[in-house]
Amino acid sequence: MKSIAELDAIRKKALNNMKVKKENQGYKIVIGMATCGIAAGAKPIMSAFIEQLEKRNISVPVSKTGCVGVCRLEPMADIIDDMGNKTTYIMLTPDKVEKIVQNHIINGQVVSEFTINSTQAIF
């Protein structure tokens, strides 16, 4: 790293790369992969997302992130759209993943019963 300008250039490029893009169906999937997430089964969930997307031949980036603090609701995944809206799905299973890919990623309908503010989550 030579200068702040160089750092800024990387920053701009990275911000652009992190943007959710139209050609990716306008979505990005981010899975919680800290110890809590992995212990609750985040790895099979990530495979399930990748498998479901491949099966339907759509390319949506699947990325990982750390712990947001609600470890008891893991495995969790955020689906972020190109408007910046974030939907947090909780306590995922491969079956739920299939429904989320089908309804949310393909048809744009949030599967509200699996989201963090659904009645399942006691807050």
Binding site: L7, V70, R72, N107, N117
Partner: protein, 594 residues
């Protein structure tokens, strides 16, 4: 019958009609015809969907997309994007789709303020670019190109940041001492040997945002004039270790670690050292001894590490969470930091909430938030309608805070006044079913197991205290035990070598302070009203409620229950091992624990 592949439903109820839905229908039909899709797509006029405030409403099947507040100008986009290209026009989806579904909107997050955890759950921790995208390494750049080491230390001093590892020593002062100390070589260390039972704040930061620690350590190194750092992380955190290794490599590849960073004279290298599971290695002098490759044991202070630390050179050691605050303080300024939290304890604190609480998890709250807010507003209260009894902070070095102090603001000094301490951030909630003598025994047992054995007060003293507590919980307590416990506590506090030893009697002292009656009940009445201490309990069958169903007889592992069918059963107290299986099995609630 003709089969259409898509149906477009447009509401023509009164409200939607008044907002031009009729014109929308015409325009849709027109556009579909022009695209020659009228054989495939049918436009249907429907009655009210009940979403009148968001009208006009257009619903497209088979996708089931609900578009709200549709105007004539949106029609071309709907036709081109959705009907021709099969892409949902997200901008028009009804509000329910977009709002209140992200974790940030959950009540759990509303009172939180995220500084140390700012990137956790937001960026990909294995990609340095994502950290940089969220202002990562900007603070290091600013420090190296724009500030003198003195200015860096002044800023940290001015921010009032105090060590988040538990004791709350001002971070800036620590740095200042090390900067002033004379030495040809100085070291920056990070204490990531998080050992308190139930605490996992540091792990989450290391796993979710490892670069923030690397950046902060480089800033600290510049401040005190060091060129070498060590992160001492426990081997029980394999994912944290893996991500730290990735992060260090990426930072080196990008020239953010190594020689002449930002083309200045500043060079900094960073290495990991793995702890092998000893709690005592979280103590600063023991940690440094362990990095040196020796057996992890504390040594007397002074000399303090700022003068003679790692390899006898001036050294600073900061906790993970403390370091995670540094880049933000550099970028946003000390004055901004002081607006958060309280005057004596600025900033935020991360807590791992566990125990008898609905929302277990990790929270970052501004200092000065009350325990009540943490437990009831963020934590969602106590499960099963039970009553709150006490909160334990600071792990084996801390103490309990009873219900009468629920409204005390959480900051370093208030917690010490209450006989507890901030600690690294474990917060264990206990309800009426927890026995406080048992809790004290649990933490003492931990201290006995983890005592390094170097100094007798800790090695022998905690063991004797544990034995007394064990006796009390077994119903063999004697009058005078409480006094002996207090005397031992005082001796250990005064004479133990390291901070962990000195603080090990705290769980006993604080439970004695607030729950002395429970100790007395155990010792004098030989009773445990919380129903935890097995030896002080009896399982009894109430004859009038017993229907003689024999269910308890079947589950009893020691055959302690006898009785004929349809006649009241009896538990033989000699044989009963108090496992509680009969209580769970009884369908009539005829068995009680006393």
């Amino acid at each position: 019958m003709h089969i259409y592949s898509s149906h477009v439903l447009v509401c023509s109820g009164t409200t939607c009609s008044s907002k031009q839905s009729i014109l929308i229908i015409d325009k849709l039909k027109d556009g579909i015809k022009r695209k020659k899709l009228n054989e495939k797509i049918q436009v249907i006029t429907t009655s009210c969907f009940g979403l009148c405030t968001k009208g006009p409403i257009v619903v497209i099947y088979p996708e089931g997309a609900i578009y709200s507040n549709v105007t004539l100008n949106d029609i071309d986009e709907i036709i081109n994007e959705h009907l021709v290209n099969g892409r949902i026009v997200k901008r028009l989806l009804s509000g329910d789709n977009n709002e209140n579904n992200s974790y940030e909107t959950a009540d759990f997050f509303k009172k939180q303020e995220r500084i140390a955890l700012r990137n956790c759950g937001v960026i990909n921790p294995e990609m340095i670019e994502e950290y940089i995208a969220y202002d990562g390494y900007q603070a290091l750049g600013k420090v190296l190109t724009d500030m003198t080491p003195e200015q860096v230390i002044d800023k940290v001093l001015d921010s009032g940041l105090r060590g988040r590892g538990g004791a709350g020593f001002p971070t800036g002062r620590k740095w200042l001492f090390a900067a002033k100390a004379k030495g040809d070589k100085k070291y920056v260390c990070c204490n990531a040997d998080e050992g308190d039972p139930g605490a996992f704040m540091d792990r989450s930061i290391l796993e979710g945002d490892p670069h923030s620690i690397i950046e902060a350590m480089a800033i600290a190194a510049y401040g005190i004039g060091s060129d070498q750092g060590y992160i001492y992380v426990r081997a029980e955190y394999p994912i944290a270790v893996k991500r730290l290794n990735i992060a260090i490599k990426q930072a080196k590849d990008m020239g953010l670690l190594g020689d002449n960073i930002f083309e200045t004279d500043f060079s900094f290298n960073l290495e990991l050292r793995l702890g092998a599971g000893a709690f005592v290695c979280g103590e600063e002098t023991a940690l440094m001894t362990s990095i040196e490759g020796k057996r992890g044991e504390p040594r007397p202070r002074p000399p303090f590490p700022a003068n003679k630390g790692l390899f006898q050179k001036p050294t600073i050691l900061n906790n993970v969470e403390t370091l995670a605050n540094i880049p933000v303080i550099i970028l946003k300024g000390a004055n901004w930091f002081k607006t958060i939290g309280t005057k004596k304890s600025p900033g935020t604190k991360v807590f791992a909430i566990g125990g008898k609480i609905n929302n277990t998890g990790l929270v970052e709250i501004p200092m000065g938030t009350t325990l009540r807010e943490v437990i009831y507003d963020i934590g969602g209260g106590i499960p099963n309608g039970k009553k709150f009894k006490a909160a334990q902070t600071g792990g084996p070095s801390g103490g309990c805070i009873p219900a009468s102090h629920l409204d005390v603001p959480i900051e370093y000094d208030t917690l010490i006044e209450l006989g507890s301490m901030m600690g690294s951030g474990g917060l264990i909630i206990m309800d009426e079913d927890n026995c406080m003598v048992d809790i004290a025994k649990f933490f003492l047992e931990f201290s006995v197991d983890e005592s390094c054995g170097k100094c007798p007060p800790c090695r022998i003293g905690t063991k004797r205290m544990y034995e007394i507590l064990k006796r009390i919980t077994e119903g063999k307590g004697e009058v005078g035990d409480i006094k002996t416990l207090e005397e031992l506590s005082e001796t250990i506090q005064a004479a133990a070598l390291c901070g962990l030893g000195k603080s090990s009697p705290n769980p006993v002292l604080s439970t004695l302070r607030y729950f002395r009656h429970e100790y007395e009940e155990h010792i004098i009445n030989k009773r445990c009203s919380a129903g935890v201490c097995k030896e002080l309990l009896d399982y009894i069958i109430i004859p009038s409620d017993c229907k003689g169903c024999t269910k308890c007889i079947k589950v009893c592992p020691t055959k302690a229950i006898t009785g004929m069918i349809k006649e009241p059963h009896i538990i033989n107290q000699e044989e009963c091992i108090k496992c509680g299986a009969c209580l769970e099995a009884c369908p009539f609630g005829a068995i009680i624990r006393k």
